[in-house]
């Protein structure tokens, strides 16, 4: 049995490990045009600023392939011939498979600006190659515009600023990361990022780009911004263009349509895992999960399915974490946000409790539905998402959660408990 896995990031390599554990003799080939060794894409920013070396981001030792007898193909897959059970490689040749896992991840969403890609100066920050190009291009003293108010945006703003560039962070929406933060929380984030010396501009949609020596951006109201370097960080799309025209069915957003066991809904013996797979979310919607730890879980599930296990991949209740410069973010459960897919809460009595820490850069938001806590959003402090999810499952009230809040702290030792003040706001609606 020959398992071909396209993509050697967390989903691909975890699948390969599950397959090897179950099948000592299977032939397992990992195809990647990005890197010899799996590495944490999440840590490229640390390599950029010298906090880590590239090898520090490799989450398994370099002997893994030899030890597990994984074959390595450094090439790009440009097509899949499902009928013939083979993938076509860019540098020529084809690779036959018995089972195929597509763990090809995301590609950056390209800037929809005329001429953006007609010359140098416009970058993205998703692949190792993006990283290498930006690393060469970004020089201290340059002016940079980071377009996009999400996580990659803030991380790129951070590393460029650390390198000594003048950074403008351009956020299209009224506030940063509206898929996760409400206006009060975004204000904390923006103040924090500004304090570090980054020019944060919310409500600044980029409408045009002109190349006159430097790059000139036209912002929403007609303002002009001249920069030397642009990083497009307006999200990612499934890296599945090479599948157009193949038998592998894609969803409207480009993700590979999968069944509950992560097999392709249309092509036999083809599976998908990670950022490129369209899966069912805990709220019933179908879209890719662009998260590191779910990619790991999907890889494991797909690997098990490929060796014949009966698998149902199902996402648990939502939780996540992030970091904006020094400000950590933790969330668990259902926190209705501005994102269209999750905008409308189900019917019920929704209330939101929100409190800023009186003297720290920290906040906590707790959302209740019909007097039962259903979601948490926190900045600054560290919290145990395990405990929060358990409380949500246990249907605890807001008063009970307030009383037991200290049990969910995950701060470093010696931190005073997060205070619950009578002045904190409890308002109607989610």
């Amino acid at each position: 049995m020959h398992h071909v896995i396209v993509g050697n990031s967390i989903a691909g390599v975890e699948a390969a490990l599950v397959i090897r554990r179950r099948d000592e003799t299977a032939r397992i080939t990992l195809v990647s045009d990005e890197s010899d060794h799996p590495f944490a894409r999440t840590a490229m920013m640390y390599v950029f600023c010298g906090q880590l070396r590239q090898e520090d981001t490799e989450f398994y030792d370099r002997g893994l392939y030899a030890r597990m007898r994984f074959e390595r193909v450094r090439d790009r897959v440009v097509g899949v011939d499902c009928a013939a059970h083979r993938v076509v490689l860019e540098r020529g040749g084809a690779l036959p498979y018995d089972r195929l896992l597509l763990a090809v991840g995301s590609a950056p969403r390209r800037l929809a600006l005329d001429g953006a890609y007609d010359g140098p100066g416009v970058h993205h920050y998703v692949s190792l190659q993006d990283h290498a190009a930006l690393d060469v291009a970004a020089k201290a003293g340059m002016r940079a515009a980071v377009v996009g108010g999400g996580l990659i945006g803030v991380e790129v703003a951070e590393v460029l600023h650390a390198r000594g560039l003048v950074v403008h962070w351009l956020v299209r929406d009224a506030w940063t990361w509206p898929v996760a933060l409400d206006r009060d929380e975004a204000a904390i984030v923006e103040a924090h990022v500004r304090q570090h010396g980054v020019d944060v501009r919310a409500g600044a949609e980029v409408s045009a780009l002109a190349r006159r020596g430097a790059l000139t951006l036209t912002l929403g109201a007609g303002d002009q911004l001249e920069v030397d370097l642009i990083v497009g960080a307006i999200g990612v799309v499934p890296n599945t263009r090479f599948l157009l025209g193949s038998e592998v069915a894609l969803s409207h957003d480009g993700g590979i349509e999968t069944a509950a066991d992560l097999s392709s809904t249309s092509a036999p013996d083809v599976y998908a895992a990670g950022d490129c797979a369209t899966v069912t979310w805990s709220d019933g919607s179908r879209r890719p999960e662009t998260l590191w730890y779910t990619a790991r879980d999907q890889g494991r599930a797909a690997g098990a399915a490929m060796v014949g296990d009966s698998v149902i991949y199902r996402r648990s209740t939502w939780y996540n974490s992030a970091k904006f410069f020094d400000l950590e973010y933790t969330t668990a459960g259902y926190v209705p946000v501005a994102e269209p897919a999750r905008r409308d809460p189900t019917p019920g009595h929704w209330q939101t409790w929100f409190q800023r820490h009186p003297n720290e850069n920290a906040s906590l938001r707790i959302v209740t539905k019909d007097d039962r806590v259903v979601g948490f959003n926190a900045l600054g402090r560290r919290w145990s998402t395990e405990v929060w999810l358990r409380w949500i499952h246990e249907r605890r009230s807001l008063a009970w959660v307030h009383e037991h809040l200290a049990e969910s702290t995950f701060d470093e030792e010696f931190m005073a408990p997060f205070p619950i003040l009578p002045s904190a706001m409890l308002h109607e609606g989610a």
Partner: protein
């Protein structure tokens, strides 16, 4: 991103560049100058530090060393807090470990020495300070101090390690750890993270522990036999055994004598020794006693009498073995390993070379820690595999492997510095002494309808 960690690998001083090699060379040279004149293996090595200490009006070169050590920790602590001072844990820990050094590692021994008493380093107990359970060492110090060293070595420190992890010592009290955490902090990422070095570490650190246990056993057995509790020898042998014990005791009382009383005491010692008809090399040891007595230097006389006590002792196989092991351990482990390599290799191999590969105290407290409550709790299913925790672990623990596997970190070697938790960008790690409630449910186990 941690402000203080930016550029870590881009600076030659922190990335094994030329400056790092130079710094290592300087540190190694300093430690050779400090230790080699002391060693029986290099008796003629010139002692350049003692004259410097004398010029600075410090009573001994060890106090000069203590002064430099304290300065390195204060200055290093300042830079450490510039890097990591946003964390309250690191603020409290750093201030504590520097304070312990200044008070117990420098000021108290200095005060004792000036008062004419033996220097006592109360924060260094057995087996790190390997002679603190040796009968002669204990007999030479005040009873309260002797009791402290026995109690701390055998009871208090192991109990604290069980309750709070060995970090209470290795990252909060110990001078070796303190220097690593302050002066050495900028080099912490240079520790080797490979499984191979973990294997070497297990063998070497426990090997040193076995050595120190063997040595302590030999020395105690030797002391017990000399004290006559076990098998009193008869005749001339017996007289010399008794005289040796008497001289060892006498050495401890000399400090209390006035200068004028020293010469008569030296004379009576000569008579007593000559009465046992010892070999000439023992008689040779009388001269330094008399020189010190004439000079009115009680401390020098005490050490000469102690030396004489060993000389008078009839050579037994046990005593010879104890002496040999002690000499080898003092030179190769005490001086070369913990000092020269332990600190000298900071700029090349990271800050905890000694703590990780050699320290018998770390080995014992680590074994206790494995059974105790301390652990690094891992938040389930939240690790993004970035590798900061492993990279900045000075003990070379691959913390990320545990975080990715949803396993709490319970490693004997962990000194609980807390840096992994501090540098984690997703708040996945937490040092804790709380009772473990057992494996929690995995986050991704089920969905509740809302």
């Amino acid at each position: 991103m941690q402000a203080g960690l930016l550029d870590t690998w881009k600076r030659p001083s922190r990335a094994r560049g030329a400056i790092a090699w130079l710094a290592a060379g300087l540190l190694i040279s300093f430690y050779l100058l400090l230790y080699l004149p002391e060693s029986t293996f290099t008796p003629n090595f010139p002692d350049v530090l003692s004259p410097i200490a004398a010029a600075l009006h410090l009573p001994s070169k060890w106090l000069l060393y203590g002064l430099l050590y304290s300065i390195a920790m204060v200055v290093g602590g300042f830079f450490m807090l510039r890097r990591h001072g946003s964390s309250r844990y690191h603020r409290i820990r750093t201030v504590t470990v520097v304070t312990v050094q200044i008070v117990l590692g420098f000021s108290l021994p200095l005060a004792l020495k000036i008062a004419g008493k033996p220097e006592l380093y109360l924060s260094y107990v057995w087996p790190l300070s390997y002679d603190k359970l040796f009968p002669d060492t204990l007999a030479a110090m005040p009873a309260a101090a002797a009791l402290w060293f026995i109690f701390a070595s055998l009871v208090l420190f192991p109990v604290l390690a069980w309750r709070y992890g060995k970090r209470f010592y290795c990252s909060w009290v110990c001078g070796c750890g303190g220097l690593a955490e302050t002066f050495g902090d900028g080099w912490r990422h240079l520790s080797d993270k490979s499984t191979k070095s973990w294997r070497i570490e297990q063998w070497s650190v426990h090997g040193v522990l076995v050595l120190v246990l063997l040595m302590t056993g030999l020395v105690i057995a030797d002391g017990v036999s000399r004290s006559g509790v076990v098998g009193a020898a008869g005749g001339a042998e017996g007289a010399r055994v008794a005289l040796s014990a008497q001289l060892a005791l006498e050495a401890t009382t000399l400090a209390e004598l006035a200068a004028a009383e020293l010469a008569p005491r030296a004379e009576s010692i000569r008579r007593e020794v000559e009465a046992t008809l010892p070999p000439t090399w023992v008689l040779d040891k009388l001269a330094p006693v008399e020189v010190a007595a004439t000079a009115g230097d009680a401390a020098a006389m005490a050490s000469a009498v102690e030396d004489l006590a060993y000389g008078v002792m009839p050579g037994s196989p046990l005593g010879r073995a104890a002496g040999t092991v002690k000499g080898l351990y003092a030179f190769f482990i005490g001086a070369m390993f913990s000092g020269v390599a332990g600190v000298g290799l900071y700029p090349l191999m990271g800050t905890r070379v000694w703590c990780r590969f050699g320290c018998p105290m770390a080995a014992i407290l680590g074994l206790v820690q494995k059974l105790g409550r301390f652990r690094i709790a891992v938040k389930k299913d939240m690790c993004i595999s970035c590798g900061n925790c492993s990279a900045y672990c000075e003990m070379g623990i691959d913390v990320r492997a545990y975080a990715m596997a949803n396993l709490d970190v319970r490693r004997a070697s962990c000194v609980g510095c807390g840096m992994c938790a501090h540098v984690c960008p997703r708040g996945v790690l937490r040092l804790t002494n709380d009772a473990d409630v057992g494996p929690g449910q995995r986050v991704g186990e089920w969905v509740v309808e809302i």
